[in-house]
């Protein structure tokens, strides 16, 4: 019994020591996280004869210093419904590329690596040379890619007999820049053209879905907003859904798809796709006549009518027999 008590006491003692160690060590574990933020994420710039610059803020909200590396990479528009930019690699950038003229500075000092102390922010300045220097008449697009750069503590260890594996977790954030050759061209944009539209008019789940392709025929990017509007034959708006603003790069093509809940609406309607260029304010409207047929709901109605007819027939028959 005494032995049992001694064992229990020693166990409690050890557990207490472990608990104290855990409580002491816990804040250090919590401090190991990496927390950072970048703003803004998309910037559009117009180049005139003077050079242009933009600011970008990066913050380390964690409790440890963070090392960053910076890459300037070109990007292009993906094909299809996806709105994701496709990043080019550093290898694709030739010596004569305009990307070589772009510099990113901190306090007017260029860099490719930098370190941020805990709970601090840094403003970066992106300097873009004037058009004449870069010698390009079209838009160009680039991404500033910030990546945390953890130093591996195992990289210098000698060969071991045991097997260890080590995953260094890096955060990367891209900030996109869309640069147009001049301010003037932005103001006289032509509208994008709607190339095609597909529509699924009848859906068993009472939905209206479709997609359409927009092509930007200009040499400059377009920043657009799109509204999908349903109007009934009396001209009343039934539904007006707005997409967030989107970019179509120069000569780019982009597919948009939509999925509207039409509930139990029945009958002829007009579907209107309104595309508005946010720079020039011009808009392009495409109207299509549609006929909604909520098959599922109609089936319920037919069943109900048949049931009502059946009941009334039965009642009439009953009344007749009573008479």
């Amino acid at each position: 019994m005494k032995l049992y008590q001694n064992v229990s006491l020693s166990t409690i003692g050890w557990l207490s020591v472990l608990l104290i160690c855990y409580v002491i060590a816990r804040p250090n574990i919590a401090k190991a996280n990496t927390s950072l933020s970048v703003s803004p994420l998309i910037q559009t710039l117009s180049l005139s004869n003077a050079s242009q610059s933009a600011n970008l803020s990066i913050s380390n909200n964690g409790d440890n210093s963070v090392n960053f590396s910076l890459e300037i990479l070109p990007f292009k528009q993906s094909i299809g419904i996806s709105a994701r930019p496709i990043l080019g690699s550093r290898k694709e950038i030739s010596t004569s590329s305009y990307l070589n003229d772009i510099t990113v500075t901190i306090n007017n000092q260029p860099f490719s690596f930098f370190s941020l102390p805990p709970h601090s922010s840094q403003i970066l300045r992106v300097n873009i040379p004037p058009q004449s220097k870069s010698f390009h008449a079209q838009d160009y697009y680039f991404c500033l890619l910030f990546s945390t750069n953890n130093t591996s503590p195992l990289s210098e260890t000698p060969t071991k007999t045991s097997i260890d594996a080590y995953l260094s977790q890096n955060l990367s954030i891209g900030s996109l820049f869309l640069v147009s050759p001049s301010m003037k061209s932005l103001k006289y944009l032509q509208d994008p053209s709607i190339q095609s539209i597909e529509q699924k008019l009848v859906n068993y789940n009472n939905n209206l879905q479709g997609k359409f392709v927009l092509k930007n025929i200009n040499n400059t990017y377009q920043n657009i907003s799109i509204n999908i509007i349903r109007k009934n034959i009396l001209g009343n708006v039934i539904q007006n859904a707005q997409l967030p603003q989107a970019f179509i790069l120069a000569k780019g093509t982009r597919t948009f798809s939509y999925f509207l809940d039409t509930q139990n609406d029945l009958g002829p309607e007009n579907l209107i796709i309104n595309v508005r260029d946010l720079h020039s304010g011009k808009s392009l409207t495409y109207t299509r006549f549609i006929f909604l047929l909520p098959i599922k709901s109609l089936l319920y109605v037919v069943i109900l009518i048949m049931f009502a007819i059946f009941v009334s027939y039965k009642i009439k028959a009953r009344l007749r027999s009573l008479n």
Binding site: L41, A165, Q169
Partner: protein, 232 residues
């Protein structure tokens, strides 16, 4: 005949009534799903399309559109990764080790973000360049874009499981025994989420390493990259 006419009259009247009353009844409830983005319809259809939202104290980041400068900026992202390193120590053959990591993401503003995951290389021994291969899962069919069951102790390699977020983690990993290898190329980085707008998401990652008896000793290292890019 009279009954039929009555039914037709009722049907026509009902249709016309619905036609006129629908815009009033529905103005606030409709939703649209465009691409990967859920949007609410506008209550007032005749109001002009709003441009860039003005800065607010709650939003924090810069939002402005100046007609003079023709300069437009938007969006802020905040990332928080629970652990910068994951360490699998003294790996024993056929005894898999698991490590967890959590990434929380806060996207503020109009920008829509996509989330990509990739590794720089396979787990590589820095001294002799030997590899711990990516897992092929129990049936040998998993790939960077396809998750499969991995519970067999005789299946070796590195793989990950993901939960949380909006889309791909939920749809790709039905339970915690589903794994897939990491893509080792930026151009083939796997998209784990798309269309993060004004949202806070938490992703839980579970990494698993299992080695065979023939695996040479040493330290195997790779970098795992969590990449966030704005959508156009």
């Amino acid at each position: 005949m009279e009954t039929r006419l009555n039914i037709i009259h009722i049907l026509v009247f009902t249709y016309l009534f619905l036609l006129i009353s629908v815009p009033i009844a529905r103005a606030q409830s409709a939703q649209i799903d465009i691409g990967h983005i859920q949007l609410k319809s506008k209550n007032n259809p005749t109001s002009p399309t709003p441009t860039v939202p003005l800065p607010t104290k709650e939003q924090g980041p810069i939002f402005y559109k100046s007609s003079v400068l023709e300069k437009y900026t938007t969006g802020m992202i905040n990332l928080n990764l629970s652990l910068p390193f994951l360490y699998f120590s003294a790996l024993a053959p056929t005894r898999a080790q698991l490590r967890k990591n959590t990434l929380s993401v806060n996207v503020v503003g109009d920008s829509s973000e996509s989330f990509y995951l990739y590794a720089d290389t396979d787990l590589t021994n820095q001294n002799n360049k030997q590899l711990i291969p990516p897992t092929s899962c129990d049936n040998g069919n998993c790939s960077p874009t396809n998750s499969e069951q991995w519970s067999n102790t005789l299946t070796y390699g590195l793989g990950y499981n993901c939960s949380g977020g909006l889309a791909a983690c939920y749809s790709s990993f039905s339970d915690s025994s589903m794994f897939r290898p990491l893509s080792t190329n930026l151009s083939q980085a796997v998209t784990l989420d798309d269309g993060l707008i004004n949202s806070v998401q938490t992703y839980k990652f579970l990494y698993k390493v299992n080695v065979s008896a023939s695996q040479a000793g040493g330290s195997y290292i790779t970098n795992v990259n969590y990449l966030f890019l704005p959508n156009l």
